[in-house]
């Protein structure tokens, strides 16, 4: 038998004997994270096109420092170095997307450190963070340096109010819908181009990395509650296209470890995000509300999951079938 003795003793040392299943899919954490990075590429290119080298600088600083902090923390805690899973790269890019183009490099480093060290690694690393690290870092930065974090510049370099701020204060003139779709407006560097973000989102949905239901329900709920709260229907489109709702709905609210795993839980989570976003935008002190909405729903996720434990197959009354 081709040089292999049929003697079972010989085979004992050679065969793998483990429990079923004996085959595995090609899915991997690295592949999923790589897909997210690929999905973020159009918006990355857009951010550099609109905001210039500042955007590139911020992207590099956040990504490199996120990866560095992750490796350093894992080394310090004598854990396996997992930077090859690319999750720190994703956090780095998303964090940069949440910074205004004029933010100084040290703010970016601080944000990456907060995201990776405090929010991710101190809670146990990948999969164990209960909040989205990039969003939590953004919140920390806004609380620490509100001036820097709300100093939005237009792509032309001029300091400018965001469309939502204009809506809220009633001062200034709104940009055209077309400009908002393309991303030629003020805001943090990654949230401005709706089209480029949607290209990436479509890729993630096709690759089945994210579930379309969370973003769709989130955005729809936001619009519905804004209408219920009395917002003029003409302004709704600005609310959807502005204020980072697209970025948050597709790339932040869908974060695996900080959102529920149950199908019903995901729907409740998305509705919660939409409701809070509408609430914060109208009654909060800052015009955007996406970050805080998602963060608050992140905190509620474990409870939502408990409420929405799926009903096991066949958990029916015995006569329900007939």
């Amino acid at each position: 038998m081709e040089g292999i003795k049929t003697d079972s003793v010989v085979l004992d040392d050679m065969l793998t004997v483990s429990a079923a299943p004996h085959i595995r899919s090609n899915e991997s954490v690295r592949r999923i994270m790589l897909d997210v990075v690929i999905a973020l590429v159009p918006a990355m290119i857009g951010s550099i096109y609109f905001f210039g080298l500042n955007a590139l600088k911020l992207l590099l600083v956040t990504t490199i420092s996120a990866v560095f902090f992750e490796a350093a923390m894992q080394k310090l805690f004598k854990k396996e170095i997992r930077i090859r899973d690319l999750s720190a790269v994703v956090t780095g890019i998303l964090l940069a997307f949440n910074l205004p183009a004029g933010a100084p490099w040290w703010v970016a480093v601080f944000g990456a450190g907060f995201a990776i060290i405090v929010v991710k690694e101190l809670f146990g690393g990948i999969g164990s963070n209960f909040m989205n690290p990039a969003l939590a870092a953004r919140a920390a930065l806004v609380a620490s340096w509100p001036g820097i974090m709300s100093n939005y510049v237009n792509p032309d370099g001029m300091s400018a109010a965001t469309p939502l701020a204009i809506l809220k204060d009633g001062a200034g003139s709104l940009p055209s819908i077309q400009r908002m779709l393309i991303g030629d407006i003020g805001g943090v560097i990654g949230e401005t181009s709706v089209i480029l973000l949607l290209i990436g989102a479509a890729y993630l949905i096709i690759r089945k990395v994210i579930d379309w239901k969370i973003p769709a329900i989130y955005i729809a709920t936001t619009a519905i509650f804004l209408l219920l709260f009395g917002v003029d229907s003409n302004a709704i489109i600005y609310h959807i296209l502005g204020g980072g709702l697209i970025l948050g709905a597709f790339f932040m609210a869908t974060d695996y470890s900080s959102s529920p795993v149950t199908p019903k839980g995901r729907i409740i989570f998305a509705i919660g995000c939409g409701f809070l976003t509408a609430l914060f935008r109208l009654y909060g002190s800052m015009p955007e509300g996406v970050s805080y909405s998602i963060l608050l729903m992140n905190v509620a996720s474990p409870v939502i999951e408990k409420w929405t434990k799926p009903r096991v197959f066949g958990e029916v009354k015995r006569n329900e079938n007939r």
Partner: protein, 441 residues
């Protein structure tokens, strides 16, 4: 009752590359006569049998060599003619050590006189049907090994109105059921008619995954003019699980902790039906079955008609031996089969396949932390949250695992298969199930 008869399915599950092309077009071949067979006294769910022969006895093909008085048991027959050489404990493919009767074949294949009595189904009474099925030792050949006569008896009085033959064969690689349906559609259908007659069921279904269209056509042709509908199922794992089949075909959900009969359905594997037909038509006992020997680790994959008690090594040799260095030998399919550690292990009635994976295919990826992607929740056909049950199991917190309904797990392997972090979810849940059950005893 569902009126659609095509592409039926259930909620959950996943697509697994089926790899059936290695052997699906190969007709069933008669396996070479083994020199010695080792026939296990435990071939089914329920009580093991006791030997009716002793060392030195001469036996013939089809002779009953073991039986049990227990309710849940089916007799066992010799697959060769020859001399009983010994009765000793051996491991079988199920991984359980049990008594095996060693019979040295004389190569003559002399049939026992009890084999070959013809019968006419229309003239058989219910008790005669049961008697013939029991005496032929027919058990569920889909892997479960539930004695067929016990299943029929226990389904009586449950107002079963739907009989379903399970031809899904959703396990990748395996093609024995496919070949049986394609080459012997008449016997498969006859087996279903026996079940229908016994339970007075008006309509029977044969449910086949739509990756076996030739088998579907063969069955459709053979069932013309009968109260039997051939339905196609979506090719999806674990479509062949009996509860999933009942759901797909009838839309009824089998209640938890219940059996198919509680959803007024009876489900049998197509190979089992074939064996029922042989039992009724020719009183031929179940001493041989079709086994798919396949995988990239095998030189010439084949569908073989194999005598029960043949060793795995014999079968591999008959298929040209190993193709390179074998990594894993599995009895059954890759999703639910058992890894083997010896070539001297004899096959039993429930062994549908021998799959040899190459060393390369056997390599396991490193286990990584759970990222809570929820894929295991999406694919679970019983709607569990495998990530949490497995996590509690690995922390020895079996009470929590039970609260998350660990016991409802059907061990289909879907969660482990899909997990991007390569976590041993099914394995951990099975462990929790065992712990919970052992505490209850």
């Amino acid at each position: 009752m569902s009126m659609r008869l095509d592409n039926l399915t259930f909620k959950g599950g996943l697509h697994v590359p089926d790899n059936k092309g290695l052997v699906s077009s190969k007709a069933i071949e008669l396996a070479r006569e083994p020199k010695t067979v080792y026939i296990s006294l435990q071939q089914h769910v329920g009580a093991p049998c006791e030997a009716l022969v002793k060392v030195g006895d001469n036996v013939k093909v089809g002779q009953k060599i073991a039986d049990s008085k227990a309710k849940l048991a089916a007799p066992i027959h010799s697959s060769v003619s020859g001399v009983v050489k010994g009765i000793s404990k051996m491991y079988t493919t199920t991984g359980i050590k049990c008594d095996c009767i060693e019979i040295e074949s004389d190569g003559l294949n002399e049939m026992h006189e009890s084999v070959g009595t013809k019968a006419d189904l229309s003239k058989l009474s219910k008790s005669e049907i049961i008697e013939r099925i029991r005496e032929s030792g027919v058990v569920g050949l889909g892997g479960a090994g539930y004695p067929m006569h016990s299943k029929l008896i226990s389904s009586e009085g449950c107002s079963v109105d739907t009989a379903i033959l399970n031809g899904a064969e959703c396990e990748p690689y395996l093609t024995c059921d496919h070949r049986i349906m394609l080459e012997h559609p008449d016997k498969v259908i006859f087996g279903l008619e026996v079940i229908m007659k016994y339970l007075s069921v008006e309509e029977g279904y044969i449910a086949v995954e739509n990756n076996k269209m030739d088998a579907i056509d063969a069955l459709k042709n053979a069932s013309k003019g009968k109260n039997i509908k051939v339905v196609s199922l979506k090719t999806k794992f674990p479509q062949g699980d009996s509860y999933r089949i009942v759901d797909a075909v009838t839309g009824r959900k089998v209640p938890r902790d219940a059996r198919c009969k509680d959803a007024n359905s009876i489900v049998s594997n197509v190979h089992t039906a074939y064996s029922v037909a042989e039992a009724i038509l020719d009183s031929k006992p179940l001493y041989e079955r079709v086994i798919t020997v396949t995988g990239n680790g095998i030189k010439e994959p084949k569908n073989l008609l194999v005598k029960i008690g043949t060793t795995i090594g014999e079968l591999i040799e008959q298929c040209g031996g190993f193709n390179g260095k074998p990594g894993k030998i599995i009895a059954g399919g890759p999703m639910t089969g058992m890894a083997q550690f010896s070539l001297d292990t004899p096959i039993v009635k429930t062994t549908g396949g021998i799959l040899v994976l190459t060393e390369e295919e056997t390599k396991v990826d490193k286990v990584q932390p759970c990222i809570k992607c929820g894929r295991c929740v999406e694919v679970c056909p019983v709607y569990l949250e495998p990530l949490y049950i497995a996590a509690y199991s690995l922390k020895d917190n079996y009470e929590a695992a039970e609260r998350y309904d660990a016991l409802a797990c059907i061990s289909c392997g879907s969660c482990s298969y899909i997990c991007p972090s390569k976590r041993p979810l099914t394995e951990a849940i099975t462990h929790a199930k065992n712990e919970i059950k052992s505490k209850r005893k």
